[in-house]
Symmetry: C2
Subunit: 271 residues, 2 copies
């Protein structure tokens, strides 16, 4: 039973600058939460296939909010807008579907996934478990150097937070989490969280006003997680991370109820 090369392509994913046709100025603003994920998941999307580029571009379009949640996605439209045929676009949509960013119904088309509160709660439940594992494994495998670097990062965050009391658009928050996830060394987990779950988290962040004023709190929790990892205490790290995620969700939920009492429209279209 041979068992060697597994999952070689580390991650095809949403990248920063993504052009579409080989020689064309960037018409899509594929901005990433600066300095965050650009180095994480990206692969040079330059010599990649059109489908890859479209996957990245459309993904970014969705995550950036350029295409609203629930909006229908017309294949001919989008393909034309990108100057490609439908084939690569369909591939991109299919991959986005698997990552749950779009929902497709046969003979009816694709639309951007709409996240309801129940689904958001579920996402956070799963995220809690997964990042708990990540923290646990990071406590086991994360190199000392990475830990030190992460500590410096948190110091930097603290400086910013005391100045503005806000984790800028969640990108710094993500940065912290990404590093721990990568620190786990668990390839399956890394792929699952970075390639799939964080897309959903970024998506739901779009529709939720970030609860400001609590960055200080999050920072404290981050420090606790990091301390546990630095002490090489897997159980504690897991517990702290889980508690942090749970707390973050609590904060999120409170922000969720306020702005929107209960408007429940049934149908609407047009992208």
């Amino acid at each position: 039973m041979p068992a060697i090369g597994c999952i070689p392509p580390p991650s095809p994913l949403i990248c920063r600058q993504t052009r579409l046709t080989r020689a064309r100025p960037p018409d899509i603003r594929g901005r990433m939460p600066d300095g965050v994920a650009s180095d994480t998941i990206c692969r040079a999307a330059d010599d990649a296939t059109a489908a890859d580029r479209l996957f990245a571009a459309v993904g970014e379009l969705i995550l950036s909010g350029a295409i609203e949640q629930g909006a229908k996605i017309s294949e001919p439209d989008l393909a034309a807008r990108f100057g490609t045929s439908r084939a690569p676009l369909r591939e991109a949509l299919r991959r986005l579907e698997e990552r749950k960013l779009v929902t497709r119904i046969a003979h009816q088309g694709a639309r951007v996934t709409r996240l309801c509160p129940e689904r958001i709660a579920e996402i956070y439940q799963v995220r809690e478990a997964l990042e708990g594992i990540a923290a646990r494994e990071a406590a086991r495998h994360m190199p000392e150097a990475a830990i030190a670097e992460l500590r410096r990062l948190l110091d930097l965050h603290e400086a910013r937070v005391t100045a503005h009391d806000v984790y800028r658009q969640g990108s710094e928050d993500d940065d912290f989490h990404f590093r721990i996830i990568r620190g786990s060394g668990n390839q399956m987990l890394i792929r699952l969280l970075l390639d799939e779950y964080y897309l959903l988290i970024r998506l739901l962040r779009r529709k939720l006003s970030r609860p400001g004023g609590l960055a200080q709190r999050a920072l404290v929790e981050h420090r606790r997680v990091l301390d546990a990892i630095a002490e090489r205490d897997p159980e504690l790290a897991e517990a702290m991370m889980r508690r942090h995620i749970a707390a973050a969700f609590d904060r999120l939920r409170q922000a969720m109820v306020v702005p929107n009492p209960a408007p429940r429209p049934r149908k609407e279209d047009k992208a």
Copy 2:
């Protein structure tokens, strides 16, 4: 902020009998571990698109071992074998890729994912966390009726196990887990585990001889999980489930080392 319909299509997936062309006898044996998942994930794949049918068929081909792990998948070949064009096959492959059953490299083709021991360990780590959550939530949300039914199922298993001392091909084992996962009521979790992770688990089960003689042990663990759920004790349920998965992995790992010292061929082709 409207937020209503999310993730409507419960699950397109590997089904039992899957025909390809509308009117053609089933040339692909799409057998499921009988009586297990047939009711879980399936959707009548009859009026579905060719891509859906191919997705199910090729998936089953892989899971059944008809296409070996690491084997190359030639698009023209497979398409011809199924009497379709490459377009729907490519869609199927792409979806299988997202589910990590096949690995594709641009301009080079797709091959069945090969699971190395490290990856298997990672899968079990993640599975432990996810099914832990599932058990926890099942303790909260699973209907009494379902619990009672599950108890009867375990009684049935016990009868079989005392007779043969083996969980038949893992299908009964899966049945137990599936019910708990579904009992969690967490749609995201259900999709993640059933649509994605259990495919991998079935795949790795193919390459690992099932450690017989330990069914009794697994059954005891199953009962503990169920008891905790019946007592509506989420924490205990989670702990028991995690322990069960961890123990199952231990058993698996022992089975992993024995039959295969270290043959490591580098390359081979042909499906």
